[in-house]
Symmetry: C2
DNA sequence: CTGTACTCTTGATCTGGGTCAAAGTTTCAA
DNA sequence: TTGAAACTTTGACCCAGATCAAGAGTACAG
């Protein structure tokens, strides 16, 4: 049921309600006991919708393994991905009863959930949870605003490079990093999902990936397996000053 | 020094550190006393930069009157506005020492500030401040994500309509609303600032505003004075489902 | 295997919005 | 009152990325 990755996280802090790795140091044992009572796991298959925008949302939780996306859709079908949920990311909004975006599993997904009202009750009693949640939300806000620059002002090629560098950095713990500093990972998104994230069409995404490949910025094996020979070069293509700091 | 508008807010809760109107009901008198000691006002003129991205930020605060923008800039000068600060909005990030964006006053601006470390100390002692700040940050996150849809997927005309409807709604308390339901307000942004917000050029902004005017969606008196005869029509142009909910 | 349904790539063409240029408005200092 | 600077509008032209179209892998159910 739980895969290798989720177990790795579990060793550090299986029960911490929010961002397992980062907060466990502050958890106290009586909190953990109370959380144990309201905790449960949910599994979703790739492509399954975790929750629809506007639906009643009676839980909060965090991703244990797999990847999910937050998307917004206009009536005519135009969609924009507004967030990417990787393992340890928190989902849900204490204090609001309905979901603001569609949450869709893009790979098989395991989530650690807590029923909402008990969680909110706990939050009221233990201030550090609200403080930790505030820090995380501020991080997400920074990431969202960083992404606004990508969406509003970058070219297609820069957008692709930005996305690749985010995935490379966010996924750093899973990635292979060879002796030469080469970074290797599998793209967790289809071309269409990348297009929805970047505000492009899937054809443009495909073309730009081909172009980056031709220019030696990335190497591709199959459709998904990416190696980045020189991260500096990629960041340069992304137009980021310094190291970018996306999804800090 | 303080104008009519700021006094209006003051009547409700002059000293509440965050979003004056919304939080004052929860303030307790001893908190207010302690806040009084660390509170001070700062004035900025239109065009002045409140703080530069990367600079040390030793205060937090909220806008009392006037309008400021949060912007990000690439080395080559491309800029993207990532947020609009209207009266009662909170600025600053507890727990981080340097600013992540440029904050620029677009009109004359009065801010109510608090030195950072005393404020953080207070936050630690009074949990409801962290909780309130969390709610506000989640609101901002929703707004940022809503804006990502605008930036990534909307046409120039839809972008302009979206911006106008946001300003109309956000500014509702200052706006004139005539007997016929007509909405009247002054644009607080130049064409260039609008372009930076929308990921467009100022020429395109100008053209689309002219087009909306020609089509009777808006009326213009001079460059800044806007009247919206039919809000439903404007929202329709913005492509928003229902009432949009931007900057909820 | 083999067919069917995806996902991805590549080509040809079109167009919304960018770029460049010029002139009209405001604003405000002198 | 006048002149200069800043903001805005409008026109002409162009190009990055969208759209339309056709194949080429790939995955997997039967």
């Amino acid at each position: 049921m739980l895969n290798e990755r989720s177990l790795t996280i579990s060793q550090e802090c299986a029960d911490c309600p929010i961002r397992h790795r980062a907060v466990c140091a502050r958890c106290e044992s009586d909190e953990l006991e109370r959380l144990e009572e309201i905790k449960y796991y949910r599994k979703f298959e790739a492509g399954q919708t975790v929750i629809w925008s506007g639906d009643r949302m009676d839980f909060v939780g965090s991703v244990v393994s797999g990847i999910a996306t937050l998307t917004q859709t206009m009536e005519d079908g135009r969609t924009q991905m507004v967030g990417l949920l990787l393992p340890s990311d928190f989902v849900g909004r204490p204090g609001r009863t309905s979901a603001a975006y569609d949450v869709v599993a893009t790979t098989d997904l395991v989530m650690c959930c807590f029923r909402k009202s008990p969680f909110e009750e706990m939050m009221r009693q233990t201030p550090h949870i609200a403080q930790r949640l505030l820090e995380m939300t501020l991080d997400e806000l920074d990431a969202a605003r960083e992404w606004m620059l990508v969406l509003g002002r970058k070219t297609a090629r820069e957008k692709i490079a930005s996305l690749l560098s985010i995935i490379a950095r966010r996924d750093a713990s899973i990635n292979m990093r060879t002796a030469t500093g080469t970074l290797v990972f599998d793209l967790p998104l289809t071309r269409e999902a990348m297009a929805d994230y970047l505000g492009l069409t899937l054809e443009t995404v495909s073309r730009q990936i081909s172009a980056l490949k031709k220019d030696g910025v990335i190497e591709l094996e199959g459709k998904r397996h990416v190696t980045i020979p020189d991260m500096t070069r990629l960041l340069d293509e992304a137009g980021d000053d310094s190291d970018g700091g996306l999804f800090a």
